[in-house]
């Protein structure tokens, strides 16, 4: 039943660009790619935040490092995705290794704050990279090249590549969290001292999860930079880390599809509120589309106060009841 649902959703996702081309609404293909990229970023955060219980407030730094690595490779004349994207995973992974090795020794709010501090450092580093645009950001002259006759400049192709990567990542995460490694990480979340007492090197497990999340986040960043053909330090701002956390919480903390649900929920809501005119809202406040973030904020607040399990939690409750 569950598998049938997954396959059904996947088929719908595959058919989506064709349907949009048929009704001549290709804008939505770009929009959908953006959602899928954020879904990947949020999924990578969910790996540590949801399964590992590590509340990292600096995930945008890894996404940003990936985005910058991929962009710099293109700017330096090496547009091949086969070189650029693995590198866009390796650089954030190394950063995550260094940051995690220091941060993971702290607990609770201190962990939240120290990850934030490191993310701020990387943010200011990108601001100072004058050779690559500094504050202004870096405009890419082209998207990465993939070979095999696939042209990423084509928005539908780009969509399929992102979809394939997201599906692969979800598969990887689902296998990982159900493997021994994932079980250990989840057990550490529940009771770290007990895991330590029975002999698990807890720091090493957490660090590996942290590095994996950094690498996946970096890949999402590379895709984001390619989609926008532009990258600027804003992508590393602390509010971006906040946004990723929100997607995870909105979607469902520690749920395989939490990041996906959250990205669809948040970006979908932003899109609907900003670009669609609701007559009853316009009657209430004519310029409401200028203030769409107000609606987003209210919705987020409602989720925290009334649906703390997120969107995935709603499904779960439906199944139990």
């Amino acid at each position: 039943m569950r598998r049938a649902l997954t396959v059904g959703v996947l088929l719908l996702a595959i058919a989506f660009p064709l349907a949009m081309q048929a009704i001549d609404q290709t804008y939505y293909v770009t929009m959908a790619s953006r959602i899928l990229v954020y879904a990947l970023a949020a999924t990578s955060l969910n790996l540590i935040l949801g399964y590992g219980g590590m509340i990292s407030f600096g995930h945008a730094a890894f996404v940003g490092a990936g985005a910058y690595t991929a962009s710099i490779m293109i700017a330096e004349g090496m547009p091949s995705a086969w070189i650029g994207w693995p590198l866009a995973m390796a650089v954030p992974a190394l950063l995550a290794l260094a940051i995690g090795a220091i941060s993971l020794r702290t607990r609770g709010v201190y962990f939240i704050m120290i990850t934030l501090a490191f993310a701020q450092m990387i943010y200011y580093l990108t601001v100072s990279m004058k050779a690559y645009g500094g504050d202004e950001g870096l405009t890419l002259t082209q998207r990465a090249t993939l070979g095999f006759g696939l042209d990423l400049k084509d928005d539908a192709t780009f969509y399929y590549v992102v979809l394939a990567i997201l599906v692969a990542a979800l598969f990887l995460v689902s296998r990982l969290v159900n493997a021994r490694f994932g079980r250990v990480v989840q057990a550490i979340r529940e009771n770290e001292s007990r895991m330590e007492a029975i002999g698990y090197p807890t720091l090493r497990y957490k660090l590996i999860a942290f590095v994996l999340a950094g690498a996946l986040g970096g890949l999402a960043g590379a895709l984001l930079a390619n989609q926008n053909s532009y990258v600027n330090p804003g992508i590393l701002h602390w509010t971006e880390s906040g946004k990723l956390m929100i997607m995870v919480i909105l979607g469902g903390v520690g749920h395989l599809y939490g990041g996906v649900f959250g990205a669809i929920g948040l970006l979908g809501l932003e899109e609907v509120l900003a670009n669609h005119k609701f007559a009853w809202l316009a009657a209430l406040y004519p310029d409401y589309q200028q203030h769409s973030l107000l609606g987003v904020g209210v919705a987020m607040l409602a989720v925290v106060l009334y649906a703390p399990q997120g969107i995935a939690g709603l499904f779960r409750r439906g199944k139990d009841g």
Binding site: I114, L116, F118, L125, W238, I249, V298, P308
Partner: protein, 305 residues
């Protein structure tokens, strides 16, 4: 790099540090007593600045406008506490981050609806010019006023927290909330009060910094992170720690920005120094913070024994 320049930059650092302290003092109490991460604290700073700008315009007097904005912001803060934040104390940090992040978005848009994206607020005419502090060292009079106000508020805060009954209750709450409650302290009421007080301090900071940094939507977001840096360095829940941390961060940030590029030029090529200097200066306080967290995770002046 003359002595006068160093002195001038130190005063700038002190001035910024004291304003940071006004923000951090409220934040550290909220964090310390209720173990609550309140990202919306920066929004109170913004609301305070907008209120001050409006009231200064309405009354035609800088002093009167700012004085009126303080209780108004306190009222906004208490309203926020009673309506939303109160329900978050018992929740985990993750929910608090999400909910208060949502509040940032909501308050930003509400401010934009009411006031637009920015408001003019300028220093009073009488203080627009410089004062001759030392021979050959003019210093803006308005910045001196900020330092004066900052010091006065810090002193007042010290007096309230260290010498009054209410301050004693606050300290008791910060060092052991359960014990304070068991001894019959009404933490809920106390806390609404503390929150209003924190909002009032935010308004002072917002109003005083407004003429220097511009009153605009989003002004609270970057300074909020600095305030968090301050309270983590100082020790969560500790007013004294917040003061030391604020002045430290203000100094390191301001003096670093002014001198690191110069200093680097002594060792490496000017072009490279010019590129890396500002980044290094911005990063410095986060390095300090990470260092403190690594070696003294409880901060410099831990509130809990």
């Amino acid at each position: 790099m003359s002595l006068i320049l160093i002195l001038e930059q130190s005063l700038n650092g002190l001035q910024f540090g004291l304003m940071l302290f006004l923000l951090a003092a409220g934040l550290t109490l909220v964090f310390g007593i209720m173990d609550m991460i309140n990202l919306a604290h920066g929004s109170l700073y913004m609301v305070g600045a907008f209120l001050a700008a409006t009231l200064v315009q309405a009354t035609g007097s800088f002093a009167l406008g700012v004085l009126l904005a303080i209780p108004a912001a306190a009222a906004v803060g208490m309203l926020l506490e009673v309506s939303v934040l109160r329900t978050l104390y018992a929740r985990d940090h993750l929910s608090q981050v999400l909910a208060t992040f949502a509040l940032i978005l909501i308050i930003n848009e509400l401010v934009r609806m009411v006031w637009g994206t920015d408001m003019p607020l300028s220093a009073p005419e009488a203080l627009a010019g410089p004062v001759q502090l030392l021979p050959g060292m003019p210093y803006p009079a308005y910045r001196l006023l900020i330092i004066g106000v900052g010091l006065a508020v810090a002193l007042l805060l010290y007096f309230v927290v260290a010498k009054t009954r209410i301050g004693m209750l606050v300290r008791a709450g910060a060092s052991n909330r359960e014990m304070a409650m068991a001894m019959g302290v009404d933490i809920r009421k106390l806390f609404t009060l503390v929150f209003g007080f924190g909002a009032a301090l935010c308004a002072i900071a917002g109003a005083m910094l407004g003429p220097i940094l511009a009153v605009q939507v989003g002004m609270g977001e970057n300074i909020l992170i600095l305030a968090f840096v301050v309270i983590v360095i100082g020790g969560i829940g500790s007013i004294r720690g917040a003061l030391v941390g604020s002045v430290l961060v203000g100094m390191v940030d301001t003096v670093g920005r002014a001198f690191i590029p110069h200093l680097l030029r002594e060792f490496i090529s000017p072009a490279f120094a010019g590129a890396i200097g500002p980044a290094l200066a911005s990063i410095l306080i986060y390095v300090v913070m990470a260092g403190v967290l690594f070696w003294r995770p409880q901060g410099l002046f831990p509130a809990r024994g």
